[in-house]
């Protein structure tokens, strides 16, 4: 037993443990919450990064919890996609946690100009709870991508869900509460549905380990039950992923939550739904995938195309910045779904790349929106005219991230879309490829409109007068880190894509 095998479990458990420590320590030391959270998340990040070469060398990492061999105990099974997601989750959580520090800070008026929107609304007592929930959320996402057991996956899925409902509602005022209720009304039934699907699957296989199930359903006598359970599971995950007709909770929840939480919701949590779909489709239903389930997956790719068009149209129609960004998420989920629905290695690489690229760019969007809102209080796109005169660096980060969302070449967004188009062309779906490109143009309309307002229009009368200026460095640095990450991923994609291709091939090989 080598030490590195324990890295994965400690990456998951440490934030969980620190999360329960924080309320205790907060009884005496109010300000220790954020440093502790940062410490735990950095540890997770370091451990995840250290795992990458190990997973790459062995193909996967299998860790038997409680030393029980897989079908009997719970297995942590990390493939390359999983470890990539772990690095992504822990890094973005860390970055956004740093951002939260000043975002949640209490009001500190300076010459009557600066005010922090959110800190004013939230009672000081909620701050340790915020970090506590935040850490549990991070831990649950890490656990969700790492696990190799389908019921354990459900447990972490629910853990993640509960934290995200609570974090959406944390301002405690009317609209966030209503958004959280709307979210719960969709997501709780979805979780029940997932449990039902797991129950059906269990009743015909008698196992909960994914690899074991995959082996057992290959020659199962209950083919139709398995197909139905697949549909049920996919619908359940699709709600969490906000796939087009089931997305109605998303615009409200993502726009009314505190901005760092919006960043996590859009950047990571909806991706967990997609990750669940990918995991279930390829790791569990691999044997059925090519034959009985092909039409379902194929239908998903058309749903995805509808999501792209719908999300883009709705984003163009919005006048509220955060709702626009939220609809953009609906659209980009369509892209990722497309990569998964085309059932092609290249398209899957594109989808996976888009998960990463969109996570960085969208988190950056929401952090920029958060900086602007907390500095100026303006929520509408029309109010952003001339924003660059007061907050040039924030606006520049927004512009850089929007290049990635639109898919202008040397950015991460482009690489993802490139592989998606490649995948759709090589499977003969020219129409879907055209939808990808058309979506890019529509993304350009709604992104560049905001950039244009920020940089090239004069502010309306009296607007931006009392705004003090640029956001503090601890908010700017995370924003820029994410924007730079989106750019760097576009430039250095050739380092990552071979790994992803390998991961996608190993996923598809299970067929």
């Amino acid at each position: 037993m080598e030490a590195y095998q324990h890295f994965a479990i400690y990456a998951i458990v440490t934030p969980l443990f620190v999360a329960v420590l924080i309320p205790i320590i907060a009884l005496w030391k109010k300000n220790w919450a954020m440093p502790l959270a940062g410490l735990a998340l950095s540890l997770s990040f370091v451990l995840s990064v250290l795992l990458v070469p190990k997973v790459r060398a062995a193909g996967y990492l299998s860790y038997h919890l409680g030393s029980w061999e897989p079908p009997f105990g719970i297995e942590i099974r990390i493939d390359f996609l999983g470890v990539l997601m772990m690095v992504l989750i822990s890094s973005i959580c860390l970055i956004v946690a740093i951002y939260s520090l000043r975002y949640l800070a209490p009001v500190r008026p300076k010459e009557g100009k600066t005010f922090f929107f959110f800190g004013e609304e939230m009672e000081a007592g909620k701050r340790p709870i915020y970090y506590s929930l935040y850490l549990v959320l991070a831990a649950s996402m890490l656990g969700f991508v790492a696990t190799g057991d389908i019921f354990n996956m459900f447990v972490f899925f629910e853990l993640m869900a509960i934290c995200s409902y609570a974090l959406v509602a944390i301002p405690g005022t009317g609209l966030p509460i209503r958004a959280a209720i709307k979210y719960m009304l969709m997501a709780v039934p979805a979780a029940i549905v997932v449990l039902l699907g797991i129950g059906l699957l269990y009743s015909v296989t008698g196992s909960l380990n994914m690899l074991d199930i995959a082996g057992r359903i290959a020659d199962s006598a209950y083919g139709q039950v398995i197909v139905v359970s697949y549909v049920i599971l996919i619908v359940g995950f699709a709600v969490k992923a906000a796939v087009f007709p089931l997305h109605v909770w998303l615009p409200d929840a993502h726009s009314k939550a505190p901005s760092p939480i919006s960043a996590l919701l859009s950047g990571l949590i909806v991706k967990m739904g997609i990750f669940g779909m990918i995991r279930v489709t390829y790791s569990v239903y691999g044997a059925y995938f090519a034959s009985d389930l092909a039409w379902i997956v194929n239908a998903l790719s058309w749903v995805a195309a509808a999501a792209i068009i719908y999300g883009a149209i709705m984003a163009i129609r919005q006048s509220d910045l955060k709702i626009m960004i939220a609809y953009s998420t609906v659209m980009n989920i369509g892209y990722i779904m497309l990569g998964f629905g085309l059932a092609d290695v290249t398209a899957l690489v594109g989808g996976a790349y888009h998960i990463v690229g969109h996570a960085l760019a969208k988190a950056c969007f929401f952090l920029c929106a958060g900086s602007i809102i907390s500095r100026s209080g303006y929520l509408k796109i029309d109010d952003l005219k001339g924003a660059a005169r007061k907050m040039p660096l924030t606006c520049a980060a927004f512009a850089l991230a929007s290049l990635s969302i639109v898919g202008i070449p040397p950015t991460a967004g482009f690489v993802g879309k490139w592989y998606l188009v490649w995948g759709s062309f090589s499977t003969g779906n020219f129409l879907l490829g055209a939808v990808v490109i058309a979506g890019s143009i529509m993304a350009a309309v709604y992104c560049f409109r905001v950039v244009y307002y920020m940089f090239f229009l004069p502010p309306a009368d009296g607007a931006w007068q009392q705004v003090a200026g640029e956001a503090p460095a601890s908010m700017l640095a995370p924003t820029w880190l994410l924007a730079a990450g989106a750019l760097a991923l576009g430039i250095f994609s050739s380092w990552i894509v071979p790994f992803l291709r390998e991961a996608a091939e190993s996923l598809m090989l299970l067929n």
Binding site: F17, S67, S132, V155, I177, Y222
Partner: protein, 251 residues
């Protein structure tokens, strides 16, 4: 319109689900996949491997202890979420509508509660500690504790109940379960096994059984306390009235 749509949706769902039911393996058949895969080992070797005669407890704490850790975390997260929604304030004073009830405090009910409370606590401790060998365990016992506190609150009012279990004590006790899991898990790792292994392989074989029993006890107790306290905290959080007039109301 909405009604028609709802009926249609539900009917479609019902047809699908009933259709699946007709395809499922017959219930209770010993040859079902559920009864022939995986489970025989639990039933045959569970007592020896997991150290519990109650196989469900063996599965919950040992074979699938990681799930239980997640479940405990969910419970904590739900409490944190309720605080996040309703306000966390470590206010010493809170009031609730039951304190302002016009029904007078009844001597009979008070006495009954005082008499029953020790029994409830005793019973829950029994359920917690005896859970490895009979139906029961930390969750069930904890729930019983919570029910006891609920009864006390109903009889004596929110203010007095709150005084008995102060906020900071509750906060500390809430973390016992996760802390227990973390410690037990880490002990296994330090001993050279995997996380959540209820053994320290580097120690002698004789001490393993005792060690495992001790670890199980720690966990059961931690979970029991934690569930009871969280039930209490949820109750208090939901009861606490919002102070709309800004005046602090003493008990």
């Amino acid at each position: 319109m909405r009604k028609v749509l709802a009926v249609l949706c539900t009917c479609a769902l019902a047809v699908l689900l009933i259709y699946v039911v007709t395809l499922l393996p017959a219930m209770g058949d010993p040859d079902n996949p559920t009864n022939s895969n995986v489970v025989p080992r639990y039933l045959e070797q569970g007592e020896q491997e997991a150290g519990t005669r109650n196989i469900v407890a063996g599965v919950v704490f040992n074979y699938r202890g990681y799930d239980t850790m997640g479940e405990v975390a969910i419970f904590s997260a739900a409490l944190a979420g309720i605080f996040a929604v309703l306000g966390a304030g470590r206010r010493k004073i809170g009031r609730a509508f039951i304190d302002e009830s016009r029904v007078k405090f009844s001597f009979v009910s008070g006495t009954a509660v005082v008499l029953v409370m020790p029994l409830i606590i005793l019973f829950s401790i029994y359920v917690i500690f005896y859970g490895t060998d009979s139906p029961g365990g930390g969750f069930q016992g904890g729930a019983a504790i919570g029910a006891g506190v609920m009864l006390f609150t109903a009889a004596f009012g929110f203010c007095r109940a709150q005084e008995r279990i102060p906020h900071h004590v509750r906060i500390i006790l809430e973390s016992t379960a996760i802390g227990g899991f973390f410690l037990v898990g880490t002990a296994g790792v330090i001993g050279g096994a995997n996380f959540l292994t209820y053994a320290i392989p580097s120690l002698s074989a004789q001490s393993q059984t005792a060690l495992r029993a001790a670890m199980l006890l720690i966990l059961q107790f931690g979970i029991g306390i934690k569930v009871g306290v969280i039930c209490t905290s949820i109750l208090f959080a939901l009861l606490r009235e919002e102070e709309t007039d800004g005046v602090e109301h003493a008990c």
